[in-house]
């Protein structure tokens, strides 16, 4: 290449952006590498995640979907021009002309123009409220129309069409799918599978019309449009979305005389080069061997290969793609692998159909019965990972391959894949191109939970379909390294926290001694005791300092305060919602003054008083209780704070009373013990002053009720909360929170915040919605009842402690003396006291140490 290489990328979609990321990976300093890279994007915003476009309907914003890290395109040598469409290529002059008439020179040109939705040539297709489903703008327009509409039709019953139908149904529309072919998802699924899929989807309230060819759209009598079909039947609807396939955007290439594939698309070779070797084409606009790929993973492959080739690295070539897919459409598992239709000569197939539960499974095997060629799974796709890898890696089939898809009977293990037989090169996560070898390396480097694997390899972070298989491989690798794969809590209990929870509940166990005698061994330790204490409290909510429970409590719970570095304690009274009266503040001020405590406003929007000695605690609490305060549980793995913004009462933008709701929620869930601490936030409008989306449970007021977000986290690894449900009434909101929290308490590991729990939850957010909102496990009523039990059994722990003389006696520094611990010393700083440093303690005689206040 010459001195300065000008690389021009047309299209800033998923693949175009990935290509630029690859460039930057190779040459972090583009300018120093003498590269001048310009990217043209026709859309008004930089690349975003089209694969998860539908989540826009469930509350994701354009920013959430963005694939571009802030500042990425600000590097020297890199220019991104948005709202800029390339309109022609002059291959002789090596220039590209933009629609505004300017022209840009290039040395190498990369076309990543993607595709457009295909709209069949139906009369009336340009009418108002007829949409396609491809860009954020399309979705914004659909949302706006959906508010007015009562019914909606999706034209096209393929993968995208069904995804779109779900979106319409979620908007509350009477939803229809109109498909030209005789069955749904004709590309991926065979006839019997299509039948099962259809009845599943119809049972969800979506009307399916197959073998329907639309000929015209005219004015309707009962709705905006009437769709007329070739057999002169018709259907009336308020809005229409076309999702009848895609067409490559190859117009630039056609007009400049580049070779075009037989079915369209820019023809490319194994290096992603077009017929002009200074021009590459990647992603959905490209056609390789007359084949186009409507998935993102093959596009990423092309981008990697083109980028390598550009820098004279010819080691990788494009060799087609595995088009296996697995998705959940409206809660229905749908998967296809390889030759799903059994087109290979001489192949045979096995079918399994369960009409009761609506499950259909098929595998296609080679003529000699030795290898798996393809599969279709509807209704339950648990075997997807296994089958995909078997087909991809031509692994030998077990003797009776039918058992691969038959339900396991009487506890017999299904024949697994035997992940050890997989080659290291096997790609487990096709979205992110993560191989088995990479998982092995991550385990060797210390990752030993699926959350950690996701964080360091990215496997499982896109569509999530590979998570079960990745987990299997992770466990096998851990075994190889001699790491314990068991989830035993500690040496005293051969159970996980979840299992112990179950045991405690089912056997109604109320003490640690009973639990240990029946299910454990030894004396217990500082792992299992607090865990058992937390489980017992979540289930029965007895006073945690009862004689047989006290010894189980962790440092902080043990004295109902937070132990500090010098062995003194802090005291945090509850201030529900952050609301406090002037008198309350004065009382706290007086008490702090009287006992010589350091005071500070916490990050949780309340007041903390530090430096109390054990023997002072009951007296301090007594005075706080007299002033109307209760324990704030700052010490517990339990509800901490419900942070609120001032809300509609005062704020000019507030749409609902966020303080009122926060107070109510805090009072409902106070004292609830959980695997880890829980924090809430309630904001009065989308400005989000309470930072609810950074909390385990976040609530934001909308014009129509409350939006519920869950599993956010600040702290060490911040995570945004995800929208679980929208526009809830207060009653429904509380029901959903009851279920969510109890489900978390039941199933989380010890010391797992909701965010890590969620990252490790198989099935992810969809599963959580199924359990909490759709009550898929039929647990809703039980979870609500269990929460109500905890709520009804709330007591202020400080009050119980100070009124029980036996308990109170324990609050002493010394069992045989009323004095305090003289090792706790304070010095003055900024008008208040603070713990003396070890050096200061050494010089205690020479520097002024604050007197202990009795």
């Amino acid at each position: 290449m010459n001195e300065h290489t000008r690389i021009l990328v047309v299209g800033n979609g998923m693949v175009g952006h990935y290509f630029v990321q690859e460039l930057v990976k190779r040459h972090p300093d583009l300018a120093a590498a003498k590269l001048e890279v310009t990217v043209l994007g026709e859309e008004p915003r930089p690349a975003y995640d089209r694969v998860h476009l539908s989540s826009f309907f469930s509350g994701s914003t354009a920013e959430d979907l963005s694939l571009v890290e802030p500042g990425f395109y600000d590097k020297p040598g890199l220019t991104l021009r948005l709202n800029a469409r390339a309109s022609s290529i002059d291959r002789i002059k090596h220039t590209v002309t933009l629609s505004d008439g300017t022209s840009l020179p290039y040395d190498k040109l990369v076309l990543a123009t993607g595709s457009v939705p295909f709209v069949p040539g139906v009369i009336g297709r340009d009418r108002e409220n007829c949409f396609v489903y491809r860009t954020i703008e399309d979705l914004e327009a659909m949302t706006a129309a959906g508010i007015q509409a009562k019914s909606g039709v999706v034209v096209g019953g393929g993968l995208l069409g069904l995804e779109c139908a779900k979106a319409l149904r979620d908007m509350g529309l009477d939803t229809h799918v109109v498909e030209f072919a005789p069955r749904l998802m004709a590309v991926q699924v065979d006839e019997a599978g299509g039948q099962v899929l259809r009845s599943k989807i119809e049972s969800l309230g979506v009307h399916v019309h197959t073998s329907r060819n639309t000929t015209a759209i005219v004015d309707g009598a009962t709705a905006r449009h009437r769709m007329v079909f070739f057999d002169e039947t018709w259907l009336e609807t308020d809005m229409i979305v076309f999702s009848a396939g895609i067409r490559p955007r190859d117009e630039l290439a056609r007009e400049s005389g580049l070779a075009i594939g037989a079915r369209g698309g820019i023809a490319i070779d194994d290096f992603s080069r077009s017929s002009d070797h200074d021009i590459y084409a990647i992603g959905e606009c490209a056609s390789w061997n007359d084949e186009m790929f409507g998935l993102v993973a093959p596009g990423y492959d092309m981008a990697r290969i083109a980028c390598a080739h550009l820098f004279d690295d010819h080691s990788t070539t494009f060799q087609g793609a595995d088009m296996s897919t697995k998705l959940k459409l409206m809660g229905v598992d749908v998967a296809s692998v390889g030759d799903a239709h059994g087109k290979t000569h001489g192949c045979r197939s096995f079918h399994y159909l369960d009409e009761l539960r609506q499950i259909y499974k098929k595998i296609v095997v080679s003529e000699d019965g030795k290898t798996l060629l393809g599969a279709v799974l509807i209704g339950n796709a648990d075997e997807f990972g296994t089958l995909q890898q078997m087909a991809l890696n031509a692994m030998p089939l077990p003797e009776n391959p039918e058992f691969l898809i038959l339900p396991a009977s009487d506890g017999k293990e299904k024949p697994g894949l035997g992940v050890d037989a997989l080659p290291d090169s096997a790609v487990l996560c096709s979205c992110n191109n993560v191989s088995k070898g990479a998982i092995g390396e991550a385990v060797a480097a210390g990752a030993c939970s699926i959350g950690e694997i996701k964080a360091c390899t990215k496997a499982g972070t896109a569509c999530g379909g590979c998570v079960p298989l990745v987990t299997q491989v992770m466990k096998a690798e851990m075994r190889k390294h001699g790491m314990a794969v068991n989830n035993h809590l500690c040496e005293h209990f051969p159970y996980s926290r979840q299992e112990l929870y179950h045991i405690v509940r089912v056997e109604q166990i109320r003490t640690f001694d009973e639990l240990l005698a029946k299910h454990g061994k030894g004396l217990g330790c500082d792992i299992c005791k607090p865990t058992a204490a937390s489980v017992l409290a979540s289930c029965w909510n007895d006073f945690i300092l009862k004689k047989d429970l006290a010894s189980l409590q962790d440092s902080n719970d043990y004295f109902l305060g937070n132990i500090q570095k010098d062995g003194s304690y802090s005291v945090v009274p509850r201030m529900p919602g952050g609301e406090v009266t002037p008198d309350g503040l004065i009382a706290i001020g007086n008490i702090a003054k009287k006992y010589g405590l350091y005071t500070k406003v916490t990050g949780g929007a309340r007041v903390d008083m530090f430096g109390a000695r054990v023997e002072q605690l009951p007296n301090i609490w007594e005075e706080l209780i007299a002033a109307g305060f209760e324990s704030g549980h700052a010490y517990g793995k339990s509800l901490r704070t419900v942070k609120s913004c001032v809300g509609s009462t005062w704020c000019r933008y507030g749409v609902d009373d966020s303080v009122g709701l926060a107070v109510e929620l805090e009072n409902r869930y106070k004292g609830l013990r959980a695997p880890h601490k829980i924090k809430f936030g309630v904001s009065g409008c989308t400005r989000e002053c309470a930072e609810a989306q950074g909390k385990d449970v976040g609530v934001i007021a909308t014009e129509n009720g409350w939006n519920l977000y869950v599993c956010g986290n600040g702290g060490m690894k911040p995570r945004h909360a995800e929208l679980l449900a929208s526009d809830l009434s207060k009653e429904d909101l509380i029901r959903m929170i009851d279920r969510f929290l109890m489900f978390y308490i039941r199933t989380a590991d010890r010391l797992q915040r909701t965010s890590t729990w969620r990252d490790n939850l198989e099935g992810g957010l969809d599963y959580l919605k199924d359990v909490v909102i759709n009550d898929y496990l039929d647990l809703g009523a039980e979870l609500e009842a269990q929460m109500q039990h905890v709520v009804d059994n709330y007591q202020d722990e400080w009050k119980t402690a100070v009124t029980d003389p036996e308990v109170r006696k324990r609050f002493r520094s010394f069992v045989n003396s009323m004095t305090g611990d003289t090792n706790i010393m304070f010095v003055k700083e900024r008008e208040q006291m603070r713990p003396a440093t070890p050096e200061e303690k050494q010089q205690a005689k020479t520097i002024p140490i604050l007197a202990l206040v009795e």
Partner: protein, 133 residues
């Protein structure tokens, strides 16, 4: 230790062997009643200015070690959770969770740290501890 004394001082045979008071330097001191220590917890006794953590384990087996946690610099070990690691009775410091063996005073995570242990006995419902000097 002779037979007679063992029955008189300890209701169980589980206590670590104890020396006969008169035979060694140091003094025995009554600290509190057994009831002052809740089962499976500890208390701190102040004896001649020294802070000693006393633990009441299963079947009223008693141990006494320094209350000072050298890893945090705070006097807190009596407030730790007790239990066992591999059958060896331990207390976990409430500050940074180091484990100390109750029989030997050794820190499990850092064998170079060694706490003092003290003979302790139960006599007629009272807990006695022996300190030197």
């Amino acid at each position: 230790m002779n037979q007679l004394q063992q029955t008189a001082t300890s209701p169980t045979a589980g206590n670590p062997p104890m020396s006969v008071p008169a035979e060694q330097a140091g003094t025995w001191q009554a600290v509190c009643s057994l009831e002052d220590i809740w089962p499976n917890t500890g208390v701190c006794a102040l004896i001649n200015g020294r802070q000693i953590a006393i633990f009441r384990m299963k079947s009223d087996v008693l141990y006494a070690i320094d209350n000072h946690d050298p890893h945090s610099g705070a006097n807190v070990l009596s407030r730790g959770i007790v239990g066992d690691l591999g059958g060896e009775p331990v207390v976990a410091s409430p500050i940074y969770k180091h484990h100390y063996q109750l029989r030997t005073g050794e820190c499990v995570e850092d064998a170079s740290t060694q706490l003092n242990t003290y003979p302790v006995q139960l006599r007629d419902g009272m807990v006695w501890v022996k300190t030197t000097a």
